[in-house]
Every structure is written in C-alpha cells, then in structure tokens.
Amino acid sequence: MVATDARTVPPLERISTGIPELDEMLAGGLLPHRPYLVVGPPGAGKTTLSLQFLIEGIRRGEEVLFVTLEEPPNEVRQNHQAMGPEFEQIYVFDAVPDVMRYERTPFKDIASVREAVRFGQVPLTIRQTPEFESVEVTMTSLQPTLRQEVRRRHYKRMVIDSLTALQFFCMPGIDLTQGAQTFLRFLSDLGLTTLLTLEVPASDEQSEEHLLARGELRLFRWEAEGKTQNAIGVEKFRGSAHDIHLHPYRMSPHGLDINLSVTISSGGIAAPAQADTQEVLGVPPEEVAYEIRRSVLNLDQDIRDLVEVRVDVTPMHEGVRFVLTALADHRFEDALIRLRETRALADRLIDEYQVSEAAEKASQPAAVPSRVAPVRSPVAVTMPSSQPAVTPAMPPLVESLPPPPLPEPIPSPALLGSTAPALPLQSRTPAAVLETPTERPAPMPPSVVPIPPPPPAPPPVNQTGPTAVPPVTPLTLPPPPPETPQAPRIANVVGPRVPEPPRPPLPPIEGPPAPTLVHRFFRRAPKPTAPVAHATVRVARPPIDMMPAPPPQTPSPTPPLAPAQVRREESLPAAATPPTVKLQPAEPVPPLRPPPEISASFPKPPVEVAGERGTSLSPAVPGAAPVGTPAPPPAPEPPRMPAVETGPGLTTGVSGTSLTPSPPVPPGVTAGPAGMRTRDTTTPAPPHLAIPKTRRTPAAGSPRSRRTRVAEPAAAPSSPISAIATPPPESSAPGGARIAPPKRQTRRRRKAPPVTSADLGPMPTNSSATAVPASPAGRSSEPAAKHPPDPPAES
C-alpha cells in the first residue's frame, strides 16, 4: 500500500558521504554496497574524506569500520580527534604491518591477535612490534580477517586506508593490479559501502585501478603561483549522474570544505561555476531516460492490473503517453513531473481498490495489500509502450507470479501468505508453469498497446499457485487460475494474451490467495512476481547490455558476508544502477546469451524454478518455435513458444539454458517448490515478464531475493560481484551461468545477494533484447516491454 511518489522516480537509495557538497556532486550520494576509490596524492585529504564518510554513518546509527594499513591508529586518532565526538565511535582495525624481522619468529594469524576497537579506545602510543612473534599482514590473511570482522558486527560502511599500502606491503609476489582487483571483488562480496583510498604520484596520471571500482573520487593537488591548490572531482560514478567539474576545497579540522560555486582547472585556475546544474543532473541524460522508462514500465504494469479490475485508467494512459512523448523529445523534466502525477494517481486507485476489495473479502485481502506495499518502490518498468508492441507472443508471461514459492523462507511479507499452501497442485502440473505467463499478459494493455487478452487462459493461476494464488489469478494476471487452463494460458502467452481482462479476477482471489495476486499486480506486490517472471522471461537477449560489468562478478566466489542485508540492498541498487548496465552493454549478445542473461537476472526467483522449469521448458524449447511441443505444461509452454518464435535462436538458447538448470529439479516435484517452479517456468519463457519482476522486485525484496538466489545459479559467474554492484556483471553471468548446472545454482541461492543484481541486470537486457518490439499486444508486451526499455533503447 505504500504508494509514494518515490516510486516513480529513480528511487535509488543513496549513501551520504558526510560532505553535503560532495553529495551534491554525486547527485545525492553514493550507491550502497559498492566499493569506491578515493584517489589522490599523499596528504590531499583522502583519509579525512573517508573518515567523514564514516562519521556520517555513526550519526545515522550505523556501525562503521576503518581499516588502516598505513598510518598507525594512534596517529589517526590524534590527527582527527577534532572531527567530532562521533569519531571516537568508529571502529578501527589496525592492519599496519609490523617492523620486519630478519630473525625467524613464529607467525601468527592477524585475525587471532587483533580485532577492531573504537577509536576512543585506541591508545595514544603506538603499538609495538611484538618481540618474539610476527604477525603477517597480507592480502590473503586480511580478507578472512575482515570477513570475520564484518560478521562480528553489522558494519554498514567501511574504509580501507589505503589500497596502495595493501599493494605495496601486503601483496608479496602478487601483481599489484591483479591484487587490487581481487581485493575489490572481495569487497564487493562483502556488500558494504566501502571507500578505498588510493595514493597516486603528485602528477595526475590515471591509476590502473580506476577501472575496477564502481566509482572514483579524485583529489588533486597542484601548485599554482607558489601556493598549493586542492581540487576534487568525480572521476566516474557508475549508475548515477554526477558533477563533471572540478571544485576547489580546503582542509579544515572538521574535514573537506568544498567550494561548489567555483570550478577549477588542472592549472589551478579557478572560474566561477556556471549555472549548468542541468548538465550535472543530466550528465547522462540517457540514464535519466532509463529511469523514467523503467518507472513507466512499472506504472504500466499497475495500469494493466487496474484494467483487469475494471478501473478506469484513461487518465493514466494519457499520462503515460505524455511521459513517453516528452521523453522522446528529451523533455525530462516534463516527463518526470507527469510521471509522478500519474504514478500518484495509480497508487491512489490501487489503494482504493485494495481497500474496497479488502472490505469485501474478509481477512485475506488485507494480507495481500501488506505484501504488496512493501517492496515496490524501485523501478518501474521501462518502456512500456514500445515494448508492448514488440513481442506479442512473449508478452506477459509469467512475471506476475511473484510470490512464491520458494520453499524456503521468505523474508518478505509477501511471500508469506501466498506461497506455500495450496498450490502444490498446480505447481506440480505443467500448468503451473504456464501460469506465470498468463498473469502478465493480461495486464498489458497499458498505454501502448493494450492487447486484448486473447484468451482464455487463465491458467496462469499457477503462479499464485504457490500458495493461494490460484484463486487469485483473476487479478491482474491474465491467468485465471487454477485450473488447467494451461492451454488457455498458452494462448494468452502466445497471442495477445490478456484475454481475461474482464474477468473478475478479484473474486477468485478470494481470501488468501487473492492478496498475493493483487500485490503482484500492483507493483507493490512485485517482489514475488518479479523474481519468477524475470527468470522466465528473459530469454531475450537484451540483457546482454546490462552485462557490462561482468568481469568483477566472476571472480569472487565467496559471497558476501551478510547475505540478507546485502541482498535487499543489492537488489535496490541494481534497479537503480541501470545506467551502469548501459556502460557495459557493449556486447549485444544475441539470442543465446539472452537466455542466460535472463536466468541471471531472474536468478533469484528462477533459481529453483528455473531448474525445474528449465527442464520442462527445455523440452518445449526444442520444439522451438512451435510452442506447443512441450505439451506437458500446456498452458505455460505455449506462451514460451511465442517468445521463442520471436527470436528462434534466442529461444532455443534460452530453453537450453533453462534446461540445464532444470534437470535437477523436476517440475512439479514438491508442492512448495512447485509453486516456485511454475513461476520459473513461466519466467523462462517470457523474459519480459522477468523484467517486470525485477522492477517489482524491489518492492518484493525478500521474496524475490530468495528467488533470485535460486536463479542465481544460472548466472553463477557473475554472482557476488554482480549482485552487489551492478547489472553489468549480471549480463556476463547470464550467458555462462545458464549452462551451469543446478549445483551452482544452489550455491548461489545461498548467496542470495547476487540475485538481486542479477535481476536488475537481466531486466534491462531482456527488454532491449527482444521483446519490446514484439509487444504486439500489450500483454505479451508487458514483459517484453519492460525489457526493451532497458539499456538498449536508452543507450
């Protein structure tokens, strides 16, 4: 029920640096759970800046950790005591190497002899190298130590001061650049928002490490006319707009004092800052456009849901058209304003509907709303309009499914209700799988192309299936429910889907199940759905784009320490990051990849499902174009088929991917799982759906996360990093991931975090990849549409 305006606009969570001017340069702050570099010559203020970042965390009640490798903690304390009382609360871990011993002495593990203490407890005298033992500080000994520290306390922010010291003194026999890269990956896995200071020579050469971090703040020190001049700039900041100018700053006892009203060039020549704020915010207009499109996609989903509920959505359609038109004309401001209005309207209608429904339906309804409300915020769909048209066949697919299923625990509220229970039946059946697809389709109509719902197939229910869903089906999702409708579903999928709009979806929903569905429908609920859908969908390759960042992902096998938190956050970030994705997009992998991507994106949800479904699907796939082949899962498959049709090559690839995973799990196997599976299945087929989910995911955080975990396996490669960081990785992951067998999946699942990222990543891709175009009908388009919006289009 939370219907906040925030949803509409890029709702990325931002982490304040503790320096308001710097936050402004960063368009609000840092994106959470990522490592950032603070680069500059010695003495420029890197340590001070990073301490301000930590103090800001203290002010917000967070636990923060300062890892010092260069200056002894006692000196850091003496140097920065004036920064405020909060400084004393910072935990500091002394990783400064001891005096080298030329005699042989027993080595001790650093983790066994040191732990973080608050600065307030740091002695004023320097720690003495022990006389008869040596503590070796190397990167390999430091990593597990840090991991242990992070487990001990739930740090939200961390500073490594400095990465250069780590390279110089703690990486014997390791290539400095590779070592730094490995360490950054490790940090990505930890999932904390981390600043690493990096020392560079006085001249401003670019460091090699700048390629590795998600963002880089650069401190300069020049001498102009005999006087030292300091300047700060944002070298890069993936996933966000940022100030592109250098601004002078001074060091004060309290920290950096940045003067935003002046810009400065490398010669140290200052000039009044031009009033090009717009440039600042719009630096990457394509990113703004991307966010808007995503929001529109989300909105589109809600509108479809409302249509099913027979709410008059005309004003919202107009709003969406206006937004898209403005977007096309690069009138971002107009687009944003109208988008917010439309979003608010949709939220209000959804709330009204839910309230009334709740009134009608006894208790259960209530439950539903709650689920929904939670997540939602993030992304919305992108490009609703365009996409819709694109892939008619693909359409909606599953995405709706959210809920689910996972047997596991669902963190989020949404999950609770729906999943487990009833569905087993459906889930077991192929139909269940299909379900997913159905759901989505129905809604589609949104602005662009509302394709009517062809058919009949309400089968979609399955999704709901997980729990009570079936009944729910009526909801938005096209699929009605429970029944066997598989066939119908298929029909939907393939065709225009959306058939059932009229139906009284709600009714079916009834008590318990209904809620879920509703949620799903409205983005709020998304979480659950999202995951599933994503998984399915995304076969479409578009995701590739997202992949950009891949490299990072691969590396770190070890997932982050704090999965739960990380996951959630990650997911959010991911959504936010879309831009990032763009960066990496470079490779447009064709069909084949898409599938992987999809999986990757979906990962969470998909995971389990995917496995199962994958199997089922795969059969279908073979059939390839012909949707039907896989008779087994009647309804569901059909939908998939359509998708395939759109991109034969792709589909196959997808199916293949899905298959791999799936083998392990039989489709319907477990009731609980079944639900999941169904979704998964759905997901695979309609990548589009997947996208939506992602967006929704944010809202549905917990559920999705679980799903994601599952899905992750597919994406495996990218795993941690990608998850944490950005989409880019995801993309990479997907391709490789798919292949990866179930085993991987399981691992990933555990890792949860990765999932989120994956989700995000995929979404974009999907959209771009394919679907969008197809969107013949709104329904099919739904998923597709969402995908398209992603990076590709924007980019």
Partner: protein, 255 residues
C-alpha cells in the same frame, strides 16, 4: 615559538610554516636536490634537541661524519653532543649483498667529539650497509627509547643499498615500510633526507612519511633563490605557500 606538543625544527620560520612545529614521534621527509640544504636542516634539528637536553642521533650514509663536521664549522655549530652512526659504505661495500651477520662489522655509535680529524680510512672499513644492517644497529642502540630525535642522511642512499640487496621492488618497499614503522615505534621524531621524488612515481617513503618539507632552488633573474615548502603535513594545519629562505652564517632563515 614552538606550540605545545610540537617539536621545533630549530628554525622559527619553518616552525611557523608547520603550524607550530613537527608532531612528536613521527618520521618526516626533507626532500631536495643536492646542495639544497637538507643536511643543514637536519643538523639544525638535532642541535635544537641538544639545546633541549635531548638525546639525538645522526645516521650518516651520504657523507662521512667528519666531513659533515667540517662543513658546518663555519656556522659555529657544535656537533660534539650528537651521537652518530657512520653508515658510509666501505669502498668495496657495493661488492656484494649485505648479510644480517655483517652488521656486527658496522661501526658502533660514536660521539662526534670523538671523531678524529683524520676520519676513517675508507679502504680499510669494508662495512656492508643495507637497510637491514642499519635497522638492526639502530634497534640494538635505540631499544629503550633514549633518543628523541633522529636524522637519517640520506634515505635515498640507504635505499640504493637496499636495492642492491634485493632486486625485488616489493621487498624494497617492505624494507622501507619496516624502517618507517621501526622509527615510529621508537617514539622518535625523525627527519629523513631524500632526493626529490619523481612526481610520476609513488614511493613508499612518500606514503609513509607523515609530512614532507621540500627545499628547492630557483633562478630569479641573475640570482639563485632558495625556496622551502611544506608539501604535506598530516594532522596539522600548515602553510600552503612556497617561501624563500636563506642559508647564511646566521644559519637558516625563512622569509
């Protein structure tokens, strides 16, 4: 002149630029070309300690202590109370790698006053010098923390020996790090002189020193002008300007 909790460099103008003086117990760099005044500044710093009744130590790597004494005679400075470690390598000092065992051959600390004008016979003193050997000697002599001030002249030369000892840059960095850590743990305020670093290369001493005083010379018209600048100084406000200074019979004067 010297603010509380600060260590005077012995030159009031530089103390002012440092916001009152150096922070105690930390190692600092004094960089500059040959002849820019690094050694003089280091000696002035030690003499200030003597004046305060502190124990001070000079590690002479570049020039033999006897030459140093002669060079400052014109200033009327009395270095006799300065303890010195003659770390000048012997003539065949570059011949082979230093071994830990060889430190024992390194001369013991002497008071400047005990050095004869004749100096040391270079040909006969084949001391092998390396960071390890100096470090071990220092450790042997300084355990107990009886020194308050230390000057190593110069770190650049010391590093050359270290380089010789190990062609592995990683090992060399580690040795420099270890040296700075050692100095820090002794609680001694130290000046390490060094040739100006290549601005395009990051060296561990730049990273690890808590501050840097840069001495330069510049031609202004037909005259060579000495300039001094505090490049960086952790934990303290400091002068951002580059200022002229002079070295005359009256000593070092800024401004």
């Amino acid at each position: 002149m010297v603010a509380e909790g600060r260590v005077s460099t012995g030159v009031p103008g530089i103390d002012r630029m440092l916001g009152g003086g150096l922070l105690p117990g930390r190692p600092y760099l004094v960089t500059g070309e040959t002849g820019s005044g690094k050694t003089l500044l280091g000696l002035r710093f030690l003499l200030e300690g003597i004046r305060n009744g502190e124990n001070v130590l000079l590690v002479a790597v570049d020039e033999p202590p006897t030459e140093i004494m002669e060079n400052v005679r014109s200033f009327g400075w009395d270095l006799s109370a300065i303890r010195t470690l003659d770390a000048n390598p012997g003539t065949h000092g570059l011949r082979r790698l230093a071994d830990v065992q060889e430190i024992r051959s390194l001369g013991n600390l002497k008071s400047m006053a005990t050095l004869g004008a004749e100096g040391r016979r270079l040909a006969d003193s084949g001391d092998e010098i390396s960071i390890q050997s100096v470090y071990l000697k220092l450790r042997q002599q300084m355990s107990g923390g009886q020194y308050q001030r230390l000057v190593i002249d110069s770190l650049t030369s010391l590093r050359k020996f270290a380089l010789k000892a190990s062609s592995d840059p990683q090992a060399e960095r580690t040795e420099v790090q270890s040296m700075f850590r050692f100095v820090s743990e002794q609680g001694v305020t130290a000046l390490l002189t060094s040739a100006p670093a290549n601005p395009r290369i990051l060296t561990p001493e730049i990273m690890l020193s808590r501050g840097e005083i840069l001495l330069t010379r510049k031609w202004v018209g037909d005259k060579s002008v000495r300039q001094i600048k505090v490049v960086r100084f952790r934990g303290s406000a400091h002068d951002l300007e580059r200022r002229p200074f002079t070295i005359t019979l009256a000593g070092i004067q800024v401004g």
